[in-house]
């Protein structure tokens, strides 16, 4: 069953990534995203049904869940023809990360974790949802800087290869971060509460995650706009990459 669901997800995301690269492939790409995401939802459901505990406790499992969050957020915010470049940035990443999750065993069934279900659901679920939001915000920030550069350079094809307006990208990026930060806050509080109750040391990933939270929280307080906001979002995303890729193996097991 898991095997049957893995391929539609990969084909859907892969097809979307390729279709976004074609100037008239928006509709096909959108269907790829939708069908792939539905298949991944089914895959996650089967994993949850077969697992004895929280099934995404391993780094690969959490990567699988992270991809689902990223694509889900993209579906909500940006799955529209004018956001083709956003899809072009998000969908290849989603396809590759999903494949990595598969290689690491994160898409198989029957996994179990020694942590409690509620704790992992809140902690991992909230942190991953926040990171998915930050990933999308970073993609929007990248688009903002690209569009701003084209406008500054007065590119003649600016209206032919049309991207979303600067103001829209700016607003969407700030809104995405504003939605994601509370998720990270809840995820961190749950993690810290458990640490205080059960004891245990502080690892590098925890420190980096708290730094990430501090950075995005200061984003909400300072309320930067335009180019500054975009750069802020990209620096924050660099921290997310450190947490998700570099330090991931040091924390969850």
């Amino acid at each position: 069953m898991i095997e049957l669901l893995f391929w539609p997800v990969l084909v859907g995301y892969g097809e979307a990534a390729l279709a976004y690269a074609s100037p008239r492939g928006d509709r096909l790409a959108t269907w790829g995203v939708r069908l792939g995401w539905l298949a991944q939802t089914a895959l996650l459901s089967v994993q949850a049904a077969h697992a004895e505990g929280f099934p995404w406790g391993t780094w690969a499992g959490s990567l699988n869940l992270f991809v689902w969050f990223v694509v889900g957020t993209y579906l909500i915010w940006g799955c529209r023809p004018r956001y083709r470049l956003l899809g072009l940035a998000v969908m290849p990443l989603a396809a590759i990360l999903f494949l990595v999750a598969r290689v690491g065993g994160g898409t198989s069934s029957g996994q179990k974790s020694h942590y409690g279900n509620l704790f992992l659901t809140l902690h991992v679920g909230c942190v991953l949802a926040a990171f998915a939001g930050f990933t999308l915000a970073a993609a929007l920030a990248g688009l903002y800087l690209l569009e701003e550069r084209r406008l500054k350079r007065r590119a003649a094809d600016i209206l032919r290869l049309r991207m979303p307006p600067l103001a829209t990208l700016d607003a969407l990026m700030r809104r995405t971060i504003a939605v994601a930060v509370p998720f990270l806050t809840v995820g961190l509080i749950v993690g810290i509460a458990r640490l205080q109750r059960n004891g245990g040391g502080v690892d590098a990933l925890m420190v980096a995650t708290v730094l990430t939270w501090l950075l995005y929280a200061s984003f909400l307080v300072m309320r930067p706009t335009g180019r500054h906001a975009a750069r802020f979002a990209l620096v924050g995303f660099a921290l997310v990459i450190v947490v998700r890729v570099v330090l991931e193996g040091t924390h969850l097991s």
Partner: protein, 398 residues
């Protein structure tokens, strides 16, 4: 029934000829009525008469009467599918100066609604309106701006998205600036200030837009209060320097400089959050979007060809109608005669016989009717129609 088109357009006739035959909508409708089953399409680029029938001489005479002279060298005459294809190209905007311009579709609709067309022209114009909509839906021919003012407005939208509530400072009270400002205003922007060397001229334009007139020497004071600056003065030097622009801005500032010599110091482009486009930049953008329109026009031509073939097939199917009608009338006549010979039958018996013979007739004629309709427009269609006429002696009298 055949279709005829007689007309002149910007392709063949200079403006001094076109203006003599250009008609207001009511006059165009009156001309069409005078010609009978006709539609008159008159715009600044063309005056065309579409007629059901072959009376192109009468149509040409009407145009020449309006022009007050011969149009033999500039008028074109098209018939049948060529005339239909022409109208479809016109409504798709493919025959316009700017490919894909949308105004023509409204003009075709107005001409059609003002006339009283018969079935042929009714079908032709309804299909032409569909073609116009289809081309604009299925291709990107009309999506990009085709003029400097519309490109300026589209670029402002590229920065701000929705222009509703965005404040504009218009510098210069000339025609070009006014036109570009109107374009921004129609997209929701508010023309907040109008600055000009002559305060009276500034007041005049400001009144038209409901804006505040200001002096040219006060510009720096208002730059922090607007989102878009549109400059088009005849000043020999810059009227806006980089140092006039407030350093700390919450929103971007979009500057459109359509003046030659330029009004805005190019150094403004280097300021954070400022985007400056001069006339060369805007013309480069328009050239690029026009090339897109021309590329999309190829796809639109394919749609027009498809629709023309469809219209041709419909028109051909009309050729079979007289034969089918005559065949059915002939059969019905024979049936009535035979029923009359039956003599004394009570009403119940007569009703039974009438029903049975009617059904028999319908079943017998169904296949020939379908085959005649299907073959209409094909070379075989004329042969079949002729065979039916000869086999049943249609039109020979009895």
């Amino acid at each position: 029934m055949s279709l005829t088109l007689v007309g002149i357009s910007h392709h063949v006739a200079p403006v001094e000829v076109r203006e003599r035959v250009a008609l207001e909508p009511d006059d165009a409708a009156a001309v069409a009525r005078r010609l009978g089953d006709a539609v008159c399409l008159s715009t600044c680029n063309r005056t065309e008469l579409y007629l059901a029938g072959d009376s192109d001489e009468a149509a040409l005479a009407t145009l020449e009467e309006l022009a007050g002279g011969s149009l033999a060298t500039v008028a074109y005459r098209l018939h049948g599918e060529a005339a239909a294809a022409h109208l479809f190209r016109v409504s798709a905007g493919l025959d316009s100066l700017v490919p894909g311009e949308s105004e023509i579709l409204g003009q075709v609709k107005a001409a059609y609604e003002a006339a009283e067309p018969g079935p042929l022209l009714d079908k032709l114009f309804r299909q032409a309106l569909q073609v116009g909509k289809r081309v604009r839906t299925e291709t990107a021919i009309g999506e990009s701006p085709a003029s400097v003012p519309s490109a300026a407005a589209a670029l402002a939208q590229q920065v701000f998205g929705d222009l509703a509530g965005r404040r504009v400072l218009l510098v210069g009270a000339g025609r070009m600036g006014e036109l570009a400002a109107s374009n921004l205003a129609t997209r929701g922007a508010t023309i907040a200030y109008v600055a000009n060397r002559s305060f009276e001229a500034a007041e005049r334009v400001a009144t038209a837009f409901g804006a505040t007139p200001v002096g040219l020497n006060e510009l720096a004071k208002y730059l922090g209060d607007v989102d878009v600056v549109l400059s088009s003065t005849g000043a020999p030097d810059h009227v806006i320097d980089a140092r006039d622009v407030p350093g700390k801005r919450h929103n971007p500032l979009f500057l459109i400089d359509i003046a030659v010599p330029r009004d805005v110091d190019p150094g403004v482009q280097g300021l954070d959050g400022c985007f400056l486009y001069d006339i060369d930049d805007l013309e480069a953008v328009v050239a690029e979007t026009l090339s897109v329109r021309r590329r999309e026009a190829e796809q639109a031509e394919r749609l027009v060809a498809e629709e023309t073939a469809r219209f041709g097939a419909w028109q051909s199917s009309l050729d079979a109608v007289p034969v089918i009608t005559a065949l059915r009338a002939h059969a019905e006549e024979l049936r009535s005669e035979e029923l009359d010979r039956l003599g004394t039958l009570n009403s119940e018996q007569r009703e039974l016989v009438e029903r049975a013979t009617g059904q028999l007739l319908n079943k017998l004629l169904h296949l020939p009717t379908v085959r005649l309709k299907d073959a209409a427009g094909e070379p075989e269609g004329a042969l079949l129609a002729d065979a039916v006429r000869r086999l049943f002696g249609l039109g020979e009298g009895r």
